[in-house]
């Protein structure tokens, strides 16, 4: 039998919009439980083109929505004239702020500061101003171009100096959010100091002190599936919304009040998601699509093109970071002082949580008793920034790892050894005072990544001469090895897993087991956003392991079941995987109770506590089969929906930053090998090796995919990826894949892995959230390698050719 047949991803029919009703996966050729590289249940649909992404949705009689966005960064809106747009044949509706149906006209993840449509002023380039619905996407675009908006431009604030200067224009004039009381300036969203020990006293013990200033550019998630969705008005006055998102229930909480509808009348279903990486945590077209659908009484589809996508989601915070590290001659860190200034742009998004991460993880995976840390996020007129894979820990890692190399050089010590001497391990105390109470194999990961064999020197040489594809400049054929030098760099990082700082972080899973045609089968229903990470694969694996079934159906994610929380913070396998496990365990107990009721009198083994469900049977812990599950159930189904929570966390103290703020930590180390054409300033990353502790690999193939994918995004921001914002106008200069470059397969090297599995006793199956850690250390490892190759200081990322040639 072919894998395609084995891995039959048979859809049980489709909704009118094209969203599959469920993914059913039967025998996989193996048991298909946890720890196996079970194949994706949606894999066949994805390779045949049948998988329905949010931009593929279609409905009879549907209209196309389009968003008119501001052409300037900061301006008072003098007037908006929609008459000509409305008169365009084929146009059904044009909406502005004045058309919003309720008094709730703002939304936001934590702070509701983002207008659904601009009111009175715009605060960044590309802010939504008006909406059009028409019978053809081009009609909608052209009609939007006929809307006349008169702007009276205002001065822009674009960095810390301009945002906090005396008399600086305030991005939000009347703040009353819960951070406004403690920030030193209204243009600072949130500020988090962390003070532990006595950095001043410790600095006096230092034999070497190294300072550095670092700049981290604005990175884009650049998921490939553009923001899109379909809103269908319903007969009950509500709306059905099919959309690509990271967290259905968070969207719902923000959408419903703006529409003036109870949440139960806004029925959301996850459609196919073409990647996310944090960029879908904030709303994009959700409210806009629903507004147009409810106004016109017709289904409305909105699909951003790539240009609009660059304005349609938040980006990774650019940052300026100032660090001071001290160490003794023996190579022990004495203290770290740092100041991390993140640019949050015009709206808060998740900036406060990014600040908390940057501060609490700002020293890295090292033992430092005396620290003085300050992190803050600004309000500016730059594009809004929020979640992206690594979430505040990325920027800090880039800087503290550069510092670690500098200190090692100052001490004349091997940079890996210097890191190992200061590496945290289980039992270490974080700058927040939190004890790391699960394995923290930082030194071991460094040892492993260093022990991997190096790629051969002059790896581009072949019997037929230089293979330019393996050289800096690639197919541009700019060198055959002349002027090319190699460098090797190392880095390691620490990332928190799950939502921190006292957030009530939970997930929900509904699991059903029943007998169909004499076979016990399971159905798993969660609201988890499958964005490509493979959660649906893992959920089926968990259900098989816990319930002893073969066939598992994963229902579409929707809001008919409780919240799964966000597909972010490396948390979904831990949290929704944990929820599925937790509910399966409760389901199993019910099945066993039924079995005891029916068969308990026939066999004493039913009375024992240690019964399991395996291979379709109730079995004893000694492996004796007591009864087929299907016979236990007969026509009875067990169906439960339960919530699952991780250990509670605490907020960080606003003055000292002390508190048990995080749930779990995740560690990865990289070694980068680069070759640099020093004449042209071109970089080829030759190899990017990674060692990571994953606790327990529920699906080793998916784990490898996460690490390699995350490493590549880190590589991208090391050597090419940056949204360029004009410092004078605050306008985005490169909103396209022509001008914003992400790594191609030619830019991406071989990425050997060494995966460690040290169980975290607090986590389901001992697993560790893995998705983000590899995005942290790959950037500083590449930078370190380029520094080693060139001898240049390179204190900003991404590195551009002119930084290497000095011109």
């Amino acid at each position: 039998m072919s894998t395609a047949e084995q891995n039959r991803a048979a859809e049980g029919g489709r909704t009118p919009t094209g969203v599959a009703r469920g993914l059913t996966q039967g025998a996989t050729g193996t048991r298909g439980g946890i720890g196996e590289s079970t194949l994706r249940p949606d894999g066949v649909l994805k390779v045949t083109g049948e998988f329905a992404y949010s931009s593929d949705l279609w409905h009879e009689d549907m209209l196309w929505g389009h968003t008119l966005r501001s052409t300037v960064a900061h301006a008072r809106i003098v007037s908006i004239d929609t008459a000509e747009a409305l008169a365009t044949p084929g146009v059904y509706a044009v909406l502005t702020y004045d058309d919003l149906p309720t008094e709730v006209r703002h939304y936001g993840l934590e702070i509701r500061d983002t207008p659904v449509l601009a009111h009175g002023k715009v605060r960044h380039h590309g802010e939504p101003v008006a909406l059009v619905a028409a019978d053809h996407p081009e009609t909608a675009r052209r009609a939007a171009a006929k809307i006349r908006v008169v702007y009276e431009e205002l001065p822009v604030v674009t960095d810390e100096a301009s945002a906090t200067a005396p008399g600086a224009v305030l991005v939000h004039e009347d703040r009353d959010d819960h951070h406004s009381g403690h920030v030193p300036h209204p243009n600072i969203v949130h500020r988090q100091p962390i003070v532990r020990g006595d950095a001043d006293a410790a600095a006096r013990r230092a034999d070497v002190v190294v300072r550095g200033e670092y700049v981290f550019g604005m990175q884009d998630q650049a998921f490939l599936g553009p923001e899109s969705g379909l809103a269908v008005p319903a007969e009950d006055g509500g709306v059905d919304l099919y959309v690509a998102t990271q967290w259905l229930h968070s969207d719902l909480r923000q959408i419903a009040p703006v529409l003036g509808l109870p949440e139960k009348k806004v029925r959301m279903t996850l459609s196919g998601v073409g990647g996310a990486f944090g960029g879908r945590e904030d709303l994009s077209m959700q409210i806009h699509g629903c507004l147009l659908a409810l106004r016109t009484g017709k289904p409305v589809k909105i699909v951003y093109n790539r240009f609009e996508s660059f304005f349609g989601h938040v980006h990774r915070h650019p940052a300026k970071l100032t660090y001071e590290h001290g160490a003794t001659r023996e190579g022990k860190l004495t203290h770290v002082r740092c100041r991390i200034v993140l640019d949050g742009g015009a709206y808060a998004s998740s900036s406060p949580a990014v600040v908390g991460n940057a501060a609490s993880l700002g020293v890295g995976p090292y033992v430092v008793d005396d620290v003085d840390i300050e992190a803050l996020a600004l309000y500016t007129n730059n594009p809004p920034c929020g979640a992206m894979r690594g979430f505040g820990a990325v920027q800090a890692c880039f800087a503290y790892e550069a510092q670690m190399d500098k200190v090692a050089a100052e001490l004349g010590m091997d940079p890996v050894e210097f890191r190992q001497r200061n590496a945290m391990e289980q039992g270490a105390v974080m700058p927040t005072g939190q004890v790391v109470d699960s394995p923290a194999p930082v030194a071991e990961l460094l040892r492993r990544v260093k022990a991997m064999p190096l790629p051969p020197e002059r790896q581009w040489e072949t019997t037929e001469g230089a293979d330019v594809r393996a050289l800096p400049g690639g197919l541009s054929n700019t060198t055959h090895g002349e002027g090319v030098v190699r460098g090797i760099g190392y880095a390691v990082g620490i990332k928190n897993v799950g939502f921190s700082e006292g957030f009530d972080d939970y997930s929900t899973a509904r699991v059903r087991i029943e007998a169909i045609n004499g076979e016990a089968v399971a159905t798993v229903h969660t609201a988890m956003a499958e964005v490509g990470q493979g959660g649906v694969t893992v959920h089926a694996q968990i259900a098989r392991s816990e319930l002893g079934v073969t066939q598992v159906t994963i229902n579409p994610a929707d809001t008919q079941v409780g919240s799964a929380g966000s597909t972010s913070a490396s948390r979904q396998t831990y949290m929704t995987g944990g929820a599925v496990k937790n509910t399966c365990e409760a389901v199993r107990e019910k099945v066993l109770a039924i079995g005891r009721r029916k068969f308990g009198t026939y066999h004493p083994a039913w009375a024992t506590a240690e019964l399991l469900l395996e291979d379709g049977h109730v079995v004893t812990d000694g492996g004796e089969k007591l009864a087929p599950i299907a016979e236990v159930l007969e026509d009875e189904a067990v169906d439960l929906e339960l919530e699952f929570r991780h250990r509670p966390t605490q907020p960080f103290d606003l003055r000292t930053g002390q508190g048990n703020g995080h749930v779990q930590y995740s560690f990865a180390a990289h070694r980068a090998v680069v070759e640099v054409d020093t004449e042209l300033g071109l970089v080829k990353v030759v190899e990017l090796a990674c060692a990571q502790d994953v606790g327990k690999a529920l699906n080793p193939l998916s784990v490898a995919g996460q690490i390699q994918g995350g490493s590549t995004q880190g590589l991208g921001v090391a050597v090419m990826e940056e949204i360029v914002v004009d410092p004078v106008t605050a306008k985005v200069r490169n909103p396209s894949f022509t001008d914003y470059l992400i790594p191609t397969i030619l830019d991406t090297p071989s990425m050997p892995l060494d995966i460690l599995e040290l169980a975290d006793e607090h986590a389901p199956y001992g697993l560790r959230g893995i998705g983000e850690a590899p995005t942290l250390s790959s950037t500083p490892a590449v930078l370190a390698a380029i520094r080693q190759a060139t001898g240049l200081e390179l204190n900003r990322t991404p590195v551009r050719p002119e930084h290497l040639t000095g011109s």
């Binding site: 894999g43 490939l224 790539r306 490509g532 493979g534 894949f737």
Partner: protein
């Protein structure tokens, strides 16, 4: 205008096509073939790759009218008549080359064309042939694995 061309071996027509519509738009929105993807609509990402008279093209950059009377192969045309996956499709599933999958259709069409003209590609050949197809999830390692696997399986079958 009306546009008629052969898609995956069958004649297809679309009416009321606006002259500015791309082949991608007509495939996705008028012919019910949304497998070709719309990641950038500016010819940079390769997610919309189809074969036009056998040649891989970005269908977002082909005006629909240019396809008149020609042969188009999309990802929907790769599987066999009974829906059995082609070697390269199966290899993508097996190798873990699919995560979000948005780049997958374009990569499959490009990889299929590569293996047709070069059944034993080197890694460099694979990288060169697929360098016009962006993937944001995988870091490409599993995609390389998949193409190597497809080549090996094709070789083994001969």
């Amino acid at each position: 205008m009306r546009v008629t061309f052969t898609v995956n071996g069958r004649q297809a027509s679309a009416d009321d096509v606006w002259e500015g519509e791309s082949l991608l738009y007509v495939l996705r929105e008028r012919l019910g073939l949304p497998g070709s993807k719309n990641a950038c609509e500016q010819g940079e990402c390769g997610s919309c790759t189809v074969r036009l008279d056998g040649v891989p093209v970005c269908s977002c950059l082909v005006a629909a009218g240019q396809a008149q009377g020609r042969e188009v192969t999309t990802v929907e045309g790769l599987a066999g008549p009974e829906g059995e996956l082609s070697t390269v499709q199966q290899a993508f599933v097996d190798a873990g080359a699919v995560q979000c999958g948005f780049c997958t259709p374009g990569l499959l069409v490009a990889a299929d064309e590569l293996l047709e003209r070069n059944p034993e590609p080197s890694d460099g050949d694979i990288r060169e042939a697929l360098s016009g197809n962006l993937c944001r999830c995988t870091g490409y390692e599993k995609i390389l694995d998949a193409v190597r696997l497809a080549a090996a399986r094709t070789e083994g079958a001969v």
